[in-house]
Amino acid sequence: MTNGQDAPDWSTPPATPDGWVARAREVAARLAVDAVVRDREGATPYAEVELLKDAGLVPLLAPAEYGGGGQDWTTAYRVIRAVAAGDGSIGQLLGYHYLWAWAARLVGTPAQIEAVERQAAEEGWFFGGAVNPRDDDLVIREEDGELVFNGRKTFSTGGKVSDVTVLEGVLEGTGKHVFAIVPTDQDGIVFAGDWDNLGQRLTESGSAVIENVRVPWAAAAGYVPRADGYEFVPRTYNTLNVPLIQLVFTNFYLGIAQGALETAAAYTREKTRAWPYAADRKERGVDEFYVQEAYGDLQSKLWAAEALAERAAGLVEQINARADDVTPEERGEAAVVIAAAKQTAIDAGLEIGTRVFEVTGARASANAVGLDLFWRNIRTHSLHDPVAHKRAEVGRYALTGELPEPTWYT
């Protein structure tokens, strides 16, 4: 990772969406330099998050009036994709950060939204999350009018590198889920550092133990005081978290795939030899028709997957434009297109991550080259939820118009 002395001037925020994406590419270029080495070392990515902050990418979605980038999700998705092309783990961290930074918008009250976004922008918060609502493993007790979180999350994101953490738990004796933003650096939150998977190794996705973390009721996102206690007022928009994050996944998969293709193409250009036994013997690997055809096939698949992700982002924008009165149908149709985009990205990404070796040659399979990093990264995260059932979900829509019920996977 190159940083420090030769850092470009990032003091002024980019003026246009394209400028933000260009900024993200600059970050990616710095990350790519030693992505393979950093993956192997597996150190906590403090410096990487610092780089994201230096480049101004962290408050991208925050309103400009608070000092944020004031950009929309379409730009955020492109930024995630661009960063992931340089380092899949960091693309993921940034993507999850954007989602947690948006948590107030998803479930908070107008006052909470304003407070969180202002403070986040001013203090440059990097968000992490300990949220896995399929398990009710974090229990909340009410004590002295405050909420006290206790328990353990198997997976978290961001962990030690975050400034604040979004906690999610269940109010003891009820089915009520509560989201709250708390400072990460406190005694009650201990990250086990036990994320040891074959890919996305720098995402700090291990388990977290939460002990007596206290928040006032006022910080319980979306809860408003009523005569008989605090109550959550649901909106369809609350359930947009899953489509939003699934499209985050999609975009860092696409970024990783793009990184794989570009890294491989550079290798083929510079090093791949032609096959000596061919009838039409070529000078260089790059001249082989089968090499050209394979790159064309992979590039076309990647472009198609990217284009579908862009379409999906457009649907997200339509919903964000009227968050308060989005209908379940709009939400469902966006979810289906996002499901399609995600599986298309996974298919393209895994194929690219695997086939690039066939057009770079045997010597590209050395650890020193590290071309396996891309496959490992996509392979690992794409297991989040089974792609076959995502396909079935899209299929039910195509067949009968059935929309998915909001769950933690759709």
Binding site: A294, P386, A388
Partner: protein
């Protein structure tokens, strides 16, 4: 290792021995890969089993087992640990080379070594040349009947575990290619454990440096002549590679099935109690099983085609063998890589834990299938299908 002559195995015994060893090797395969522990003890056990001698000709006291059996032995070993199938690959290839090009005396001496459990490595490939078949290593004259061998070789699978290293070299700077048989411990032979592949990590397919190694005439056998007429030399070598890939694919599928049966959680949409009852998971297993069965069937046909060609060696039979092997190689490569990648899809989130090392199958498949490009196997099949053209003759077919 004792110096006594190994047991001569018949086909059933060889297959049984392979299965037994595969079971043993499988137990430590993931850990050896993760720590890159070189399998010296396992290679010793392999040599002691007599499996390394099964292709020694009968007139030299061997069992002379057919390719069909050898390929199945390799496939079974590879299901256990494909590193331990690839390590002896060159050994079998050079036993074959010796059979084809060695004179009576050379055969007598070296086959006797093999029957005593000695192992051949290899030193063939060179880097820095424009094409994979260009070589710089050469034997230069060093007095009557003697030569000096100089050069550097890469991808020398088996060399680190070998007693003898057959080195591919020009006889004279621009002379025809020959094989110089040098002892692993001869002066000037240096075997460097610098293999850095993402997979097949414990094959130690590293560098061999040859510096003024003294070689006498009687340890040199012709090589270029191998390809002057119809031959199955390349096909035999390749079908064993195909067997290794088939084994990798099968190992991945079996480990995934075990995982899904015992560890995976069902997805709520499937409406089933066990992950193994999810119809879409079952479907994925069916697709992988189908691809593997197709590859295995082509592997069998290819090995038989090599045996058929050996029994009646003509341009036609040799071409048929080469094409059958090309098909087996292409199909096993695809099946191995695809299966090894897809097993995660069915096994689910928890299968990506680094400690499980389930990705070693993909890494092994990915590295080993690049040994020579499957794209060219397909090209040869295409020329045959389209024009009836026989494949070219070289060591990669």
């Amino acid at each position: 290792m004792s110096e006594s002559v190994c047991r001569v195995l018949d086909a059933a015994a060889a297959l049984g021995a392979a299965s037994g060893l595969a079971g043993e090797f499988a137990a430590g395969a993931a850990e050896r890969d993760a720590r890159r522990t070189l399998p010296y003890a396992e290679v010793d056990r392999l040599a002691a089993s007599g499996l390394l001698a099964i292709t020694v000709p009968q007139e030299h006291g061997g069992a002379d087992l057919p390719t069909a059996v050898v390929a199945e032995v390799f496939r079974r070993l590879a299901v256990g640990d494909p590193n331990l199938a690839q390590i002896p690959h060159s050994h079998f290839v050079y036993v074959n080379q010796l059979r084809l090009q060695g004179d009576g005396d050379q055969q007598r001496r070296l086959f006797a070594e093999v029957l005593r459990g000695k192992r051949f490595g290899n030193a063939q490939t060179e880097f820095g040349t424009k094409h994979v078949r260009d070589h710089r290593t050469a034997l230069t004259p060093d007095g009557p009947g003697r030569w000096r061998l100089n050069g550097t070789k890469f991808y020398c699978t088996g060399a680190l575990f070998a007693d003898w290293i057959p080195v591919l070299a020009h006889l004279g700077i621009e002379g025809p290619m020959h094989v110089a048989w040098v002892r692993r411990d001869a002066q000037g032979v240096e075997v460097v454990d610098d293999w850095d592949g993402i997979g097949q990590r414990t094959t130690a397919s590293g560098t061999v440096r040859l510096q003024n190694v003294s070689v006498a005439d009687e340890w040199i056998t012709p090589y270029a002549a191998t390809f002057e007429g119809p031959q199955t030399y390349g096909a035999f070598a390749q079908v064993l590679h195909a067997a290794i890939d088939a084994g990798i694919g099968r190992a991945a599928l079996e480990e995934a099935a075990e995982f899904v049966r015992t560890k995976s959680r069902p997805h709520p949409d499937a409406g089933v109690e066990r992950a193994a009852d999810d119809p879409l998971t079952v479907r994925a297993f069916g697709e992988m099983e189908l691809a593997l069965r197709g590859a295995e069937a082509l592997l069998k046909e290819a090995a038989s085609a090599v045996d058929d060609a050996n029994a009646d060696l003509t341009e036609g039979s040799a071409a048929r063998a080469s094409l059958a092997v090309a098909a087996a190689r292409a199909a096993t490569a695809t099946a191995a890589v695809d299966t090894a990648s897809r097993v995660f899809e069915v096994a689910g989130t928890r299968s990506a834990l680094a400690g499980l090392n389930l990705d070693r199958h993909w890494r092994n498949a990915r590295v080993h299938t690049l040994h020579d490009p499957a794209a060219w196997k397909v090209q040869h099949l295409g020329r045959w299908a389209l024009d009836g053209a026989p494949p070219p003759r070289h060591g990669q077919l």
